[in-house]
Symmetry: C2
Subunit: 251 residues, 2 copies
């Protein structure tokens, strides 16, 4: 485990917290040891300190993230402002489509999900606010990649297009062609490329400089996806972009 190279306590603390970022609700001390490579006694003490700080909680003999981590997230300004401004538009898009609506930003090589509106009987997605997915195989990611610097795209291609589903596009030329199309149409599709059985239409939220700040998407199970209206998504994204510019002129 590369993370046991960490010598700084703060770094170690966040390595431990990050262990919970996957699908695990709770982890035992032994599991944390296995994941971080930190010595058991060290980890036990660190976990105790994280509990005292509210970052972790006990659940029986297991640990889970504490409410403090939720609370601190509200103060992450970039996400909060985007979410606040986008919410009315996302809400309208949901009403127009009756399918799951998602808002995401770009972070590293990944899509970082910011918010989501879903109704009864909408597609069950593995994504959630705070979650991440590789950019190259999600409509949201591609929508943003198409309006990102070429170095970003090239970097992602160089690091490899690992398949996430049987339909993931893994050839650089095909991805680049898709991004070219998105640059023209401002609409990105994900035809079961990230999640089998789910299709997605996304559009980039652009800043004043033409770069992607975020993206909006509508997702549906494949049989229902033919009803997804690209124009609604694109319009929503455009209006969010405008609302952001109105909120922070010069941004």
């Amino acid at each position: 485990m590369a993370e046991n190279d960490a010598t700084s306590l703060v770094r170690r603390a966040f390595v431990v917290l990050a262990c919970f970022s996957t699908s695990d609700r709770e982890l035992s001390l032994a599991q944390l040891v296995a994941r971080t490579g930190l010595p058991k006694a060290t980890l036990h003490r660190l976990a105790g300190q994280l509990i005292a700080a509210g970052a972790l909680e006990r659940s029986g003999r297991n640990y889970r993230l504490g409410v403090k981590m939720f609370e601190l997230s509200g103060a992450v300004w970039a996400q909060r402002v985007l979410r606040d401004i986008a919410m009315p538009f996302l809400q309208e898009l949901y009403e127009q489509t009756r399918e799951t609506v998602q808002l995401a930003m770009f972070d590293g090589d990944a899509v970082l999900y910011i918010d989501r509106i879903r109704g009864h009987n909408t597609a069950v997605l593995p994504t959630f606010p705070g979650g991440r997915m590789p950019a190259y195989c999600t409509a949201l990611g591609k929508a943003m990649l198409a309006f990102s610097p070429a170095e970003t795209v090239n970097g992602i291609i160089a690091r490899g297009l690992i398949p996430l589903s049987p339909r993931t596009v893994t050839t650089p030329n095909l991805l680049i062609a898709q991004l070219r199309s998105i640059q023209r149409t401002r609409i990105a599709y994900d035809a079961e490329e990230s999640v089998s059985g789910v299709c997605c239409v996304a559009a980039p939220v652009l800043g004043a400089n033409g770069r992607a700040i975020a993206a909006v998407s509508v997702s549906a199970t494949t049989p229902r996806a033919r009803r997804l209206r690209a124009e609604s998504v694109r319009s929503c994204a455009t209006r969010i972009g405008q609302a952001l510019r109105d909120h922070s002129p010069g941004a």
Copy 2:
């Protein structure tokens, strides 16, 4: 500053992170020093470590919370499950009312806001997901207090009912009478008690044991508040409670 008693580095780290939990988007090193009482060199180093961990970011000479803090929040299971399950119902409530809908949990003496749906031209509230407010002067808080152990209520009263607005209820007997009424009706009101110019109707989400797990509210500016339908809010809360029980039988 009481927090400078902290000797554990983890504790100090979270004291620093908590400085951003208020309304400040960014803080300078000097402001962090003033707020935490930690020595400047110590703080400078700690902030650097938090940056390395992704918990803080630089913005010019200032600091702000980093994207990592948003990302970790997605893994706080209790909030995530509640939010996921409640979302379709919140969405319906928004459509019925066209006013700001909020979902909250109870944490310590405070309401912790979990999610919010708002539209164009809805009331501007100072609350946001991750934010907190005293329980005794918010409809959400009172809805939950009414279905909490008596010790909880007595503790809050003993610690003092500090006014948040000119309309905040600060006499224990009146609060208790309100809670009695809420126990009968399952509806709580906030008539400009927490925020001047804003009224709120809330209902508790009850667990199988009759205790409040969370609460739902609709807020509107005072002139529009007479249209708020208590029955819609109560029905929404009841259905969320049922959905939670279906999701985790025995909880």
